[in-house]
Symmetry: C2
Subunit: 316 residues, 2 copies
């Protein structure tokens, strides 16, 4: 592990991994000891790893898996299966929300109308996780975001200097009006380190990627950072870690909201910048109201989630 200038045997790698998570939790006041935590479980390596390590550290892990109904290559079925298998092994409860059962349609039917499928999917997952956490009184929602995710998202946001997105790049966002706290316990571990952890622990994540391939631009930032990291090990850690030392400069009062773009991790491209129309983009400083359909916080009358998934209940 060149970024740490260390080599570990299996046992010490495990200790290192757990300690990194413990430190992140303590440093950013993510959870009280033994607290319940709702883990966002996609079935991929990151979400299974964060559930695993939080369980081992004594937190009361409850999983929420959202079945997106993506049938290409049985992607959603395999993801669900991997999630169920791991939670059975942990002996912890896993809740499943199936979009098709709940809303009569799923991601393939819905994303056709949008230019950025990942934005729709992200918005959907954030909404359902937040709603579940809020209704059941979880102190926080944990996601498997890791250092590679965070540093490439940070690079994307820094290239635009959008303060509204920069200020949300911290590994723990406090609860706000209708919003559960969001925590990223793997924030200081790399994708490679998680891959190693998963292998050592015999965890079996879903194989393969979502057929709605991730946005190319995003992958490119990750690749650029990989190049720099290879030449200068520790760059990602320094980039994200030093950002956290100055993140307070970007802090203002507006809480994250629930619109594509708002609440998302990356600032949406301005209209036309990619030669594509931007998805519905709501200016940053609107005061939050409550969705007339579901009651969740939103800058508009009806939240983006309900406009997508409950169009029949949206007042004309």
């Amino acid at each position: 592990m060149p970024a740490h200038n260390s080599k570990f045997c299996r046992e010490h790698f495990d200790r290192f991994f757990l300690r990194q998570v413990e430190r992140a939790i303590a440093a950013f006041h993510m959870l009280e000891p033994g607290a319940p935590v709702l883990v966002a479980v996609s079935g991929g390596k990151d979400s299974l790893a964060v559930a695993d390590v939080l369980d081992r550290l004594g937190y009361q892990v409850v999983g929420l898996h959202i079945d997106l109904g993506i049938d290409t290559g049985d992607f959603s079925a395999a993801s669900r299966e991997a999630s169920v298998r791991h939670f059975a092994r942990l002996g912890r409860p896993l809740h499943i929300v199936s979009l098709r059962e709940e809303f009569g349609r799923a991601v393939p039917e819905v994303v056709r109308r949008y230019s950025r499928p990942c934005a729709v999917c992200g918005l959907t997952k954030r909404h359902l996780l937040n709603e579940f956490a809020w209704r059941h009184g979880f102190p926080a929602v944990a996601t498997g975001h890791h250092l590679d995710d965070l540093s490439s998202t940070l690079l994307a946001n820094v290239l635009r200097w959008d303060v509204k997105y920069l200020r949300k790049m911290v590994p723990a966002l406090p609860a706000g009006d209708g919003m559960a706290a969001k925590i990223k316990p793997l924030a200081f571990l790399t994708a490679d380190e998680i891959r190693t952890y998963v292998r050592f622990r015999g965890i079996e994540p879903v194989q393969g990627n979502c057929p709605y391939s991730p946005e190319a631009k995003f992958k490119r930032y990750a690749r650029l950072l990989d190049e720099i990291e290879e030449d200068s090990p520790g760059t990602k850690r320094a980039f994200y870690g030093n950002f956290l030392r100055v993140a307070h400069l970007f802090t203002a009062t507006a809480p994250p909201a629930d619109e594509p773009g708002e609440g998302a991790d990356v600032a949406p491209a301005p209209a036309g910048a990619d030669g594509r129309p931007a998805d519905a983009y709501v200016p940053p400083e609107l005061p939050l109201r409550h969705c007339r359909v579901c009651g969740s916080p939103t800058p508009s009358e009806v939240c983006a989630f309900c406009r997508i998934w409950r169009p029949e209940r949206v007042p004309a």
Copy 2:
């Protein structure tokens, strides 16, 4: 010019170029109309272009060329020649400071002792420019830094989030205690645009690069940004331009000072990070004093310039 979504004929390119400089000067209050300005003249395309355009816009251009005494490939002789030739054509005064004549030694003899020759050279040029401007009462020192320089330096600094360097990335730094104002009138023009301007104007800059090749890391950031720019034209402009909208967040009171690292454009690597010892690095918050040898502002007793170039006058 994909970043501007435009094509120009020769005449309109010229207007575009001049207007970009006029706008930068006005927006950042760089110079009063017709003011004298000291231009840092290396003999490369950027410095000859900035001298040329400032002259055409009616400023009283005076050049200062520093002969670094680099004889590999006659680099310094050719640079001096290109500078003299262009200023003769402009009919404007060019002052020349020869390190070898002035200090009895030049860059090749001095940089051998340092791991980062570019840092020594940058420090030397900044010191001499500042001293000359200050002594002769120039309201500002203009350099040929362009958008590619500034965006890659910004990327280097943002990867470290060093607020002290970020706050100096604005295109105009005001005069301070013993420090002349520094302006970058080409801040919003790319290297390619300057190349085109120079060709259209029949300017003949020095060919070839300094034999003490520029630091590899720095070039890499420029290359990475070039890649992103190619996919998303306008990225560099947006990156630097949007930074300027938030740069006030990084602003504090400490003026730039005269140490390798201090006063430089890029934060020095922390000791050992590159497997090399960092050059003498002075922590950021030291109060400025005046050099006991030359009187220029410095955080130490004797400034770095005098320690390098006037070692015989440094008290033991």
